[in-house]
């Protein structure tokens, strides 16, 4: 099978063709939004971090923005920093340019304030959109895709239908030689032994166990009862009793194939096939992690219903809750009928076909309704 995508200088294939306007720090976020408002075809990444971070979080923010900019769905990048922020705008720009992607930097304190920066940014972005618009979609083998998977606003149907359907679509792509990534380390708690068993080597298995322990210890060290946080109030109303139950349903979105590698938040995989990026269960920063890992189509399973998309990557919403599908048709792209639960392979094939259409340009509901601009960057903290 094949899809129609945008070829990039580094050999990757995008499913969208955006000019990204990326602020390095919250102080530049409004400016980035204003530049993007002026230029159709450009998309901002509106986040609220980039200052007062621990060294670990600072390094994570730098690599995340760089790898996000390298997502194949982005044709060119305008970076905007404030100037006094600790973010490494030069390093981020060099990393982007090294892969052959056009990138320009603007430093608000050097350019001389908002109006001048918006003017300069608008001119640069206008030219970049003009250049990007000359890249045409061409037909590529579907093994060139990279899927991502999220679950949020979960209820029991997520583990019964939504996540297994995504997992079945993951298995199809990975068997063809494509790549897929999933995340949400919090929602591995109680199910990590099942993931570790699927690791390509015992070492990778041990890394999965250690990654989950590191997350759980953040709760234990602070003396916090995770039950107040995860499962959420909505999860509990939807029938999920404990994090273990939620996790056992959540991991099915990763399918059943071998886990080749795990890596830190903001990093990209060095291996093909199915991989895991370490990240929180919190949807917005989790979607960012998978976009930074290189996902070009993402699935998002929900039981309660959620509008959230992602700025540069189309997000296909999936639910197995019939009432939610009826009530939130504006937001949900794909319905899994639990009466057909024993035919998950066929449902996965239908979802896969939908993903190929989306990869080729079909707009998701989150894209059409503009639910795809605000996303987050993960930080561990504490904030200074």
């Amino acid at each position: 099978m094949s899809f129609w995508g945008y070829p990039r200088p580094d050999g990757s294939i995008g499913t969208r063709n955006y000019v990204a306007i990326i602020p390095t720090v919250v102080c530049a976020t409004a400016t980035a939004r204003q530049v993007s408002d002026n230029v159709k075809g450009s998309v901002p990444f509106l986040h609220h971090q980039g200052c007062a971070l621990t060294p670990d979080d600072l390094a994570m923010a730098n690599r995340t923005l760089m790898n996000l900019a390298l997502n194949p769905n982005i044709a060119a990048v305008v970076l905007i920093s404030l100037g006094c922020d600790p973010m490494d705008i030069d390093g981020i720009a060099e990393g982007i340019a090294r892969e052959g992607k056009p990138v320009e930097k603007l430093v608000i304190q050097q350019v001389g304030g908002t109006i001048a920066t918006v003017e300069k940014g608008t001119k640069i972005a206008r030219q970049m959109v003009s250049d990007a618009s000359r890249v045409l979609r061409a037909e590529f083998d579907d093994a060139q895709l990279m899927f991502g998977a999220e679950c949020g606003g979960s209820d029991t149907t997520s583990g019964l239908g939504g996540n297994p359907a995504i997992g079945a679509a993951f298995d199809i792509l990975v068997k063809k030689g494509g790549r897929a990534v999933f995340s949400e380390t919090t929602e591995f708690i109680g199910a990590e032994h099942l993931l570790a068993r699927r690791a390509v080597t015992p070492e990778v298995g041990a890394q999965i166990t250690a990654m989950v322990r590191r997350y759980e210890e953040r709760f234990l060290e602070r003396g916090v009862d995770m039950r107040g946080t995860n499962p959420t109030k909505g999860n509990i109303e939807g029938g999920l009793t404990t994090i273990e139950e939620k996790s056992l349903g959540a991991i099915s979105k990763g399918g059943t194939e071998t886990i080749q590698e795990i890596y830190e938040y903001g990093e990209r995989p060095s291996k093909g096939g199915l991989t895991i990026v370490d990240g929180p269960g919190f949807d917005a920063p989790s979607l960012t992690a998978m976009a930074a890992a290189g996902a070009t189509v993402m699935f998002f399973s929900t039981g309660r219903g959620t509008p959230l998309g992602s700025p540069f990557v189309p997000v296909v919403k999936v639910t197995a809750n019939g009432a939610t599908f009826e009530k939130m048709k504006d937001n949900i792209d794909f319905y899994v009928n639990l009466a057909q639960k024993d035919h998950m392979g066929e449902i996965g094939a239908d979802l896969y076909a939908e993903a190929l259409q989306v990869a080729s340009g079909k707009q998701t509901k989150a894209e059409i309704l503009g639910q795809d601009r605000d996303n987050g960057l993960f930080i561990v903290g504490p904030l200074a």
Partner: protein, 101 residues
Amino acid sequence: MERKAIVLNSKDNVATALADLAAGDTIALEVDKKPVSIKLVGPIQFGHKFSLVDIKAGSTILKYGEAIGEATKDIKVGEHVHVQNVASTRGRGDIVKGAAK
């Protein structure tokens, strides 16, 4: 016939409702290909769980064939199994028993 509830693994001691179920309903289930029928003690909402057997306080609750928590009190067959009688054993910084497992 539409299934009213589902048991995901033969080891499980709970079933998940696939419709809103009323107190006193007798629910026909399939466990390990064998028919089982459970009379509900109270109403069970869509997506919520009920017990397939009597479960003693402190026992493990099993769904997907895996542990999802511990019973905090005795649970009768057909009773609603949820946060009022089950607790997570993970991420419990409030009762740290040493390091995380």
